[in-house]
Amino acid sequence: MKLKYFSAPYIIWMVVFIAVPLLLIAYFAFTTDGGSFTVKYISDVGQYANIFIRSIWLSLIATAICLVVAYPVAFILSRMEKHKQGTMLMIVMLPMWMNFLLRTYAWMTLLGNNGIINHLFGLVGLGPYKLINTSGAVVLGMVYNYLPFMILPLYSVMEKIDKSMFEAASDLGCNSTQTLFRVVVPLSVPGITSGITMVFVPAISTFIISRMLGGGSNLLIGDLIEMQFLGNAYNPHLGAAISLVLMVIILVIMTVMNQFDPEDQVLM
């Protein structure tokens, strides 16, 4: 009995439900309703350059904030006593187990014009400020939702850095800043790159966070795709073309990230 035939059901499944659908995206992106070849839809994507730029820009900002906020958290966690680390990590990751719609909804109620933040401002005689339906709110939503995705990979590389590394660095005359930039940062590069991809990919393709916190004026690529398939603007060909461009952008970003990764261990 050949063991490799065990995978036959999955191979069929994989071809029909993973490979064919992705090929369908490419097919729809390059054909008209009648089925003849066209580059019209791909070139139409250019009309939405502003939305693409906004998506890339907002998700880059969110990724950068996540990195800056998460780095010290991961470091502090990794230097705690071993038995505390597990519990602390669980506490940090716990909000991730709530559905992201509820987490985003929480910010909707906090930031709203009648929300609690404006209410507190009102008590000290300030505001009300326009907090919701701004691009800042969208970035905040991304940071809130994806911060643990940055903490986890950073923590798992830092946890492996031996304490003796710090002692050696200080014995050799490094002060703490030098130790940080010459020892900790270089050793945590794999965590940085996988953290960046784990935050950037969902951030650039989200369509709910922008809709719930950004109002109508902060459309992202995800919203644009969703509108072509389920919205009023029904046009699967254009939707497929936008999806294809999004996939290419992500592929480029991941390739760039892999260049920085010494172990080449990111999923690809």
């Binding site: 499944w13 994989m14 995206i25 909804y105 929480a106 809130y144």
Partner: protein, 267 residues
């Protein structure tokens, strides 16, 4: 320096938890106000339990998560056995395609499956509903099972399967008694991972289900689109409590098995 670190950690935890606690507090609020707490009530919880849409979507969510994770675990484990014994090139091809749903943004997976179903729907009388939802969930679940089981095969000594057969086991007995126990931890974590992903999924479900098979995340989404009702807060509170209970149980089990391993090691 240590104090500063603690202070920073507390700040980040506040950022993560305050929004959730505000939701919880306002689930007990008498009025619909989202900023002023006017009095305690359990009305929103009562309403929640009488909300037929929420109950039926909860049932749907659990049904699809159970079915999808069981099918994915069986198919994914069989697939891992087969892939493990493949030659280098076909193995690389299969693994690269398997990684696609994990690397691709969820919206692309959702949209691509939707295109496929629309394509079939026109030709095969297929309707968007439970079946399409289940297919979609299995599709994004199986890769996680394979990625959890594969490393166990790589760690396993390939000769023990042959040794079992030399000692008189049939191939099926050898698999059941020798291989299965070795890969079991991977199978279990693959199952749990696909179950939680199914339970939590919104984006792929959103594109692949019909109006007859709404899942809880989809119902939550439509609730946030309509008028604000503190029922969502009540629902969030219940989900939060459930998550805390599950994680505490998980922690206890892990600590117990860690303690067990430790005593075994000491003996």
């Amino acid at each position: 320096m240590k104090k500063l670190g603690k202070f920073y950690l507390i700040l980040v935890l506040l950022f993560l938890y305050v929004p959730i606690f505000v939701l919880i507090v306002f689930s007990f609020n008498e009025t619909k106000s989202r900023s002023v707490f006017s009095g305690f009530t359990l009305d929103w919880y009562k309403r929640l339990f009488h909300n037929k849409i929420i109950i039926s979507s909860l049932v749907n969510t659990i049904l699809v998560a159970v079915a999808a994770s069981i099918i994915s675990t069986v198919m994914g484990t069989l697939a891992a056995i087969g892939i493990h014994s493949m030659r280098k090139v076909p193995k690389a091809v299969v693994m690269n395609i398997t990684n696609m749903p994990i690397i691709n943004p969820e919206i692309v997976t959702g949209v691509s499956l939707m295109l496929l179903f629309v394509f079939f729907a026109a030709r095969m009388n297929l309707e968007f509903g439970f079946v399409t939802l289940l297919i979609a969930h299995i599709t994004f679940d199986v890769p996680y099972v394979i990625l959890n089981v594969m490393p166990k095969f790589n760690q396993m000594d390939p000769h023990i399967y042959e040794a079992a057969q030399d000692l008189g086991c049939s191939p099926i007995q050898a698999f059941r008694k020798v291989v299965l126990p070795e890969i079991m931890p991977g199978v279990v974590s693959g199952f749990l991972m696909s179950f939680t992903y199914s339970l939590d999924d919104f984006v792929v479900s959103y594109f692949t289900t019909g109006s007859t098979s709404q899942t809880l995340p989809i119902t939550i989404y439509s609730m946030t689109r309509r008028k604000v009702s503190p029922e969502i807060n009540a629902l969030s509170t219940l989900i939060f409590v459930a998550v805390v209970i599950v994680l505490i149980i998980k922690n206890i089990i892990e600590n117990k098995s860690a303690a067990k391993n430790k005593t075994v090691g000491e003996v």
